[in-house]
Symmetry: C2
Subunit: 582 residues, 2 copies
Amino acid sequence: MLLAWPDPMNVARYLPILDWGRDYSRATFGNDLMAAVIVTIMLIPQSLAYAMLAGLPPEAGLYASILPILLYAVFGTSRALAVGPVAVVSLMTAAAVGQVAAQGTAGYAVAALTLAVLSGGILLIMGLFRLGFLANFLSHPVIAGFITASGILIATSQMGQILGISVGGHTLPEMLHGLITHIGQTSLITLALGVGAVAFLFWVRRGLKPALRRMGMGARAADIIQKAGPVAAVVVTTLLVWGFDLGAQGVAIVGAVPQSLPPLTMPDLSPDLIRALLLPAILISVIGFVESISVAQTLAAKKRQRIDPNQELIGLGAANIGAGFTGGYPVTGGFARSVVNFDAGAETPAAGAFTAVGLAIAALALTPLVFFLPKATLAATIIVAVMSLVDLGILRRTWIYSRTDFAAVATTIALTLGFGVEIGVTAGVVLSIALHLYKTSRPHIAEVGLVPGTQHFRNINRHDVTTDPAILTIRIDESLYFANARFLEDHILNRVVQDCPIKHVILMCSAVNEIDMSALETLEGLNERLRDMGITLHLSEVKGPVTDRLKRTHFLDDLSGQVFLSQYDAWHHLTRAVAAAE
Amino acid sequence: MLLAWPDPMNVARYLPILDWGRDYSRATFGNDLMAAVIVTIMLIPQSLAYAMLAGLPPEAGLYASILPILLYAVFGTSRALAVGPVAVVSLMTAAAVGQVAAQGTAGYAVAALTLAVLSGGILLIMGLFRLGFLANFLSHPVIAGFITASGILIATSQMGQILGISVGGHTLPEMLHGLITHIGQTSLITLALGVGAVAFLFWVRRGLKPALRRMGMGARAADIIQKAGPVAAVVVTTLLVWGFDLGAQGVAIVGAVPQSLPPLTMPDLSPDLIRALLLPAILISVIGFVESISVAQTLAAKKRQRIDPNQELIGLGAANIGAGFTGGYPVTGGFARSVVNFDAGAETPAAGAFTAVGLAIAALALTPLVFFLPKATLAATIIVAVMSLVDLGILRRTWIYSRTDFAAVATTIALTLGFGVEIGVTAGVVLSIALHLYKTSRPHIAEVGLVPGTQHFRNINRHDVTTDPAILTIRIDESLYFANARFLEDHILNRVVQDCPIKHVILMCSAVNEIDMSALETLEGLNERLRDMGITLHLSEVKGPVTDRLKRTHFLDDLSGQVFLSQYDAWHHLTRAVAAAE
């Protein structure tokens, strides 16, 4: 792992903007601008909504979308990724910041800034040290389970806004308890607005586009109108609240939002706060990175472009540090907004820059218009968005394919719902690694014989093969390392003790990719013990790198038998030797 | 993992005594008794010395050897293992108990009892749940490094007693600082006694037996006399102190030791103490178990006996709980004492029971005799014993064989010396697992071709093989799982992008023992992307269990190419197809 410091000749590597910026044309500009308009319209309500989910004032969502987008445009490698607040990271922010400050206090907002800067610093360091591979240790089932459980948590948390009651809590039991306790205080007008908005948004998502097409509208126009659906919900419910003065009848509204460009803000880098937020910041960084990179790679593959994961870390790191100094909170590349950006025809990160300008105008000029916007509408936006994240089918798919993967996904879902996002995802990662180690510590060991008429050796329990009573051939289907070496030794010793005629044991190493020091010492012991019993130990099909390493030890000299290039050679040689001895 | 509860029909499984007790004969009795006499003589000074190392009064070492030996005789499976205080566990006890109480206080002794009971409980639970395999996750290099570093720490800690000064500390820098600070207070008489004892004991170990044999003595008699060497050192130095009243001249002596059978003692099971001692107890249990099981298996192999690791856990658990209720501290099967027991002819655990009786007599009757025993003699006993544990050659051997193993062993040694036993062994375990995961996350991937005249395929960089420009055969030398799936995908995509004529990619799966859900999803993606590029993906040599699992998914239906039983079939079929297409 080399710290690849930018050298002056290679600065383009760290500034992908120099790559695409060079060929920027008027046609590209047009496409990017069009995409930016669509994404801006979509992002205004979404940004307000996710800030609410994170427990922050609505403007924080806008601020978190402006400078971060610009910074990602400079440092990121994806041409279509749209960076900003996303649902899961907003939920994780609420959970992390809620542990150090009360919602609504100044300390809460400062902690959110600090979390963004910490998370940005972690991403930046991971990028500079090229540690992007660490994200691979999050298995797909763990991610799928975590996202699903987060979606359920988010939807449940927003139910309170729909009912017009306060819920609180960061776990499903807490939220359900809050809902049940306060259900009597339900505001019926709020409920009507919220349910109406949810129903409308689901219809927009599923039914609007086909209806418009049936009415003869072009695909692209229908698409744009569909994207504007949430804006329509916002406009209509805001007008209803304003027109009927529903705010006075108990409907919670967004209220006054400052008219301002993103302010310059200072995170609080006191050691106590950093210590409290470090672990959440690591989790947010890793989850955010995984979400972002998978979106970026999916979109890049469609245009045969490549994503550099380590440069992505730098881009996201810069974006998060930017968010921390401009009144935002942790951000990442979001799935929905990126897909919209891509579908709308964005060709370069300049589309993101134009979106940032659009949102800056909104922050400066449009915020008075959301004064009467009911929070229930924002909650409806969130609920409809996150329902697409919930995929309980992963439980069935993993159950069919592999009980180990099922255990990882089920545990991740259960612990995320029951104990919150941080414990859930940490347990998922630890469990998938532990289960992997447990599996490899009890590897599959097959006794093999010759498939007649070929030079192939297969499992005697699965194929009709030729064997010799004096020769035991064991194929171990795993690298030999400290956790499984003793298992193999026990298996072989138990097998030969039961079976007297065995004179030769061949260890077929076609699947042995490594023999570590512990396993080497175990093999040395096995060789000795078999020799004491009058049994010769042979190896076959040992791979090049493994052979090279064994040659540096005394093992091959001490080995009672031989090393054969192929199992067939071993079989051919030893069956003759056995026959000659009889 | 099944909790195997003792059913009435199978009680012998949990009481190995019912097995060997049935055939107990007079000849066996004679052999066991002889072994017990020799072991008892050796254990008296050793028990006192190890108690001193653990920071406890000398009698604690005797008490820790009596009931634990009896309990192990009932529940253990090894016929020669001698259970009691050992050097490394004594050092770990001093480190753990020193964190919760000051040496010499009543709280210190109670904490040691509690540690023994906790450790016993952990071992018992591991045994009942059949978790003995967990010990396999301690790699040999980590154990070797830990034992070596512990030996150095122990020898250094005892230097203070040899010099007659107080040292203190649980890490090498602390100990060296203590030695240097107090070196001016060295008691020259103590130093003379200590150095004399060390020199004498080394001579006994190395030179006495050959000298006796040269004088015509039989091997067995020479052996017994050699074993009595430490007793001679004890007797001579005690007489010197008594005769010349050296105690009054500053030589630290053992002093009054109560004349008593092991007392009934009560551990302190308050939640605070348990919380403080839980992690050390886990480490002591695991290290003790690993040390004990390796001794037991080495000795059992010499007589073609089998050791049941899970029953060993139960035996050691019972022994430790016994130690905790009878004034002792954590115990395990010791290497030196077990080998002596075995060499002296012990045939059954009854030898251990007789040793316990011998030590009980010593505790009752002989303790006044050690009043004038200088502590420097005990320190000399410890130093000579632990020098055989120190094996710095492990650094050279691992360096030559594998840098990964070297990193694990060097880190373990450095951290154990620098930060103490608990941090050292924990870091060693975590590091060996992390390095293993890192290695498997970047597996060896070979491009292979046909060895002419055979059906074998080997690495094109190592062998002179036949290839076809339209066919790329990739052999991945590792199971496919979440941590390495993306690595393979990147490798293949980078390879085919560079090389236009490729029409077929064959993934040779002879070393793929598992494909987990994450890897399956990655392969699905790879199949799609290669299809988009007009390249067909094939699999060959897929193992039975892997095939079974893939058949439960849509992957094999969606695969653009075929699955071939052997790589040769794939080659044969595809080279013809390519030739026909041209």
